[in-house]
Symmetry: C3
Subunit: 342 residues, 3 copies
């Protein structure tokens, strides 16, 4: 590719272009590694210091940085540079990326009853079982296994080695990264004289539109009804979603978080990295859980919640942790003193 | 399928059937989504309110709910409805499920020295290495890789994309879900002048009968001796089991838990979700660790243990967490006051 | 194999051999399971009691145990038995292990533009995309997928079912275990009116020499620049490394740890099991984080850090945890008492 003129970018994505519209951009990049044919962005005035140091050909900036940006070269001024750059990145990938050709790779094992849109691309060595339905422009990467009866909506992409189990369904424009396992059995057992008797799992997984699912993330099938992931939900890598969990629209869950079975999470929530959420709980809309927290109770009120032990030098931690075991008795001693002194 | 008569269910599974034995059941389901051909269960009288609302054709109930259940339709009365339903679910799957046909899929790569029972089913694109032994009625899903010398006991099922390494052994009636990695190298290094010198791992993984292993769970091979998983153990998804760990019979480990190397866990334990257990520890039988706890010491006494920071609104957490760093000095100040006031 | 004479071991690996140099060793093993043809090691005098009980043919011991070891049979005396055994284990594997034959398995799907060294071994059903470069004596296990443009250095080994994405690079003598996903998209979105707009990821993953990566571990590709893993880094199983993370040379990260995006970790650090490290932080060299800690701030000073709630019997935990929520007010009450009493 011979690059894209700044003028074309501004024409396609909008923004107020200041500078040479004929300047050609070869790459979207970071401020640090930029060259004169790189386009970068600065999200907030906080990073202004990096602006003067970069060699970038053009920088997308918020209005507050217009002067500073123009002083050093071309700029695109827009109220939300991060959002602008996100859209630009998508446009860039479509314009420059090599989409796999439509069709079924000859090495794939496809059941005769599967209905695969002619515009879809099925990668090498995939296994597509009976009655699978695959929509328009879907891309299924190498080595994926799609279980019987599963369906994949238009424009969704599965990277290599995804396991998409029987009775799993995903809507349009989704992305599932490598190693994800959708629709394995939930962890359901009846206790019996100290042993565990398996409860077979009959539910499916129902995933909305515009959902992204990270590498090695697991979403279990429901026990009787479905596990449900709402539209626009984003799950990072190595997230565990138990059976019959319901996640509301546009909630984001960061890496290594785990959500135990039958818990309902509202819409527009953020669950930070390594958070654990117990089973059979309800979190309302707009609940934000900070990293490393363990949630053991339902949370109905919108807000920001934290439950993690503050890190400290080990020597301090040891003293405080030892004392912590006596916190309740400290409280009682304090009460006794208060009574005495009053 | 034209459904199963209630009378046949009661004849096979037991329980006291009250109502029309000829009523046909098409589906096991939840109380909420039930239709008149659905069979449901209620584990305890606590959920009695749901009983009157359900449209289910029949409900499995404990004796305390007999009256209430019968009032609304057919019922099966049994002392432990959850256990009854578990067994019913297994019977249902055998009766209605489509077991894969025996035989080796032509796309599988099977070493000539592997001994595979004629009743076993080897899925598409599997790789079976030298000297593997596979028992009767075993089902190996698509894309599994079975390392040289591994063995799989009768009636065990591996779902798609399981990696079952060399020198791994599993007994009868096991289930391993997709993405699980059994028998990767343990994390063993000798420190040397700030760098790490790999200690090659020679041990295997020995897994008992009736073990279930969740999606993307890892069990490392032992360094010199074997890693050992007892009969009836249940591991949820994304569990990490380090080298030379030993887990006693009928212990259950929930999702995202991690057990570091050379730790021994007793029988009949429950390790809840996201629990971490340090290396070289011993947990006795009947030890129960609640969710999100970190175990840094051996626990010999049966009981319930917890180690997790209580979640709170972030503003409260910040004040308490900051104070926590001074807990030891608070204790000393309290002591000084006590001395003064005595 | 007919075993290896102790004399040959000492000749190859060094150490002071005391005893019969003609004694043949068939196996490296643990003290507990040793037979008269097993060679074992004892790292420190702490384990002296096990020395007298073992049936091992020869034990590698530190100088302090020379007398005790010789009393019971053959011994190799060396200042660091653990290091000696590590090197011996590697020599043993090379001497006795069956390296896969060089060449490309006929069932593998290899793009015509891939450059694969003639001494490399590509396993069954692998997928090697365009422009991949694979070095000398590399072993790629069954079912691996190597994305377009990726490169793998000399003597590196990938076990079965590794996903090694486009624009990922690993140096020499590395090991990647099954299920690892290298080079999936980072978790990058621009928020927009409550929804998440994907930021396409353009960076790669750059991994140094002598790096080991555990089963089901994920390392995301960078957003714009690369994610970078230094020489000699060891990552255990189920570790999550976010986009643009940089890990310095010879740092070890234990199982289930997670490192959020854009964080830099120095050289010679140890990150213990299940540790979480927030995004956009900097940890200096020689920082050691103990198990289950959550790191929410940068740490510049070398040292040992801990942040985990001490485990306790649940009944005690409940009382202490409840009190903990009032810690800040306890502090204020203590202050008031102090003021009163002064």
């Amino acid at each position: 590719m011979n690059g894209v003129a700044l003028g074309e970018i501004a024409a396609q994505l909008g923004g107020d272009l200041v500078g040479d519209a004929a300047l050609r951009i070869n790459r979207l990049g970071s401020l640090e590694s930029a060259t004169p044919t790189t386009l970068c962005f600065i999200a907030t005035p906080r990073y202004q210091a990096q602006l003067s140091a970069t060699r970038a050909g053009c920088v997308v900036v918020p209005p507050a940085l217009r002067e500073a940006a123009v002083e050093r070269g071309a700029a695109i001024v827009t109220p939300d540079p991060h959002l602008y750059f996100a859209r630009l990145s998508q446009w860039w990938v479509v314009r420059t990326g090599a989409r796999p050709a439509p069709g079924i790779h000859p090495s794939a094992q496809v059941h005769a009853s599967a209905r695969i849109d002619a515009s879809a691309s099925i990668g090498p060595l995939c296994v597509i079982e009976a009655d699978v339905v695959i929509g328009a422009r879907v891309v299924v990467g190498a080595h994926c296994v799609i279980g019987s009866g599963a369906s994949i909506g238009d424009d969704t992409r599965l990277d290599a080695q995804v396991s998409f189990g029987a009775a799993s369904h995903i809507g349009a424009r989704g992305i599932i990264h490598s190693g994800a396992v959708i629709g394995a059995d939930g962890f359901g057992f009846a206790p019996h004289e100290g042993t565990w008797i398996k409860v077979e799992q009959f539910g499916g997984v129902r995933i909305g539109d515009d959902v992204e699912i990270g590498a090695n993330t697991c979403i279990d099938r429901g026990a009787l009804d479905d596990t449900v992931i709402g539209d626009g939900v984003k799950l990072d890598n190595q997230v565990q979603v138990g059976h019959n969990v319901r996640i509301g629209a546009h909630t984001a869950v960061a890496g290594c978080a785990g959500i135990a079975g039958s818990t309902t999470i509202g819409a527009y929530c953020t669950i930070a990295g390594a958070v654990g959420i117990g089973g059979h709980l309800t979190l309302g809309d707009h609940v934000h859980i900070r990293a490393f927290s363990g949630v053991m109770q339902s949370i109905t009120r919108p807000g920001v919640y934290t439950g993690t032990f503050p890190i400290d030098e080990n020597a301090n931690w040891e003293k405080n942790a030892a004392t912590l075991r006596h916190l309740y008795s400290l409280r009682n001693r304090l009460r006794a003193l208060e009574k005495k002194s009053s």
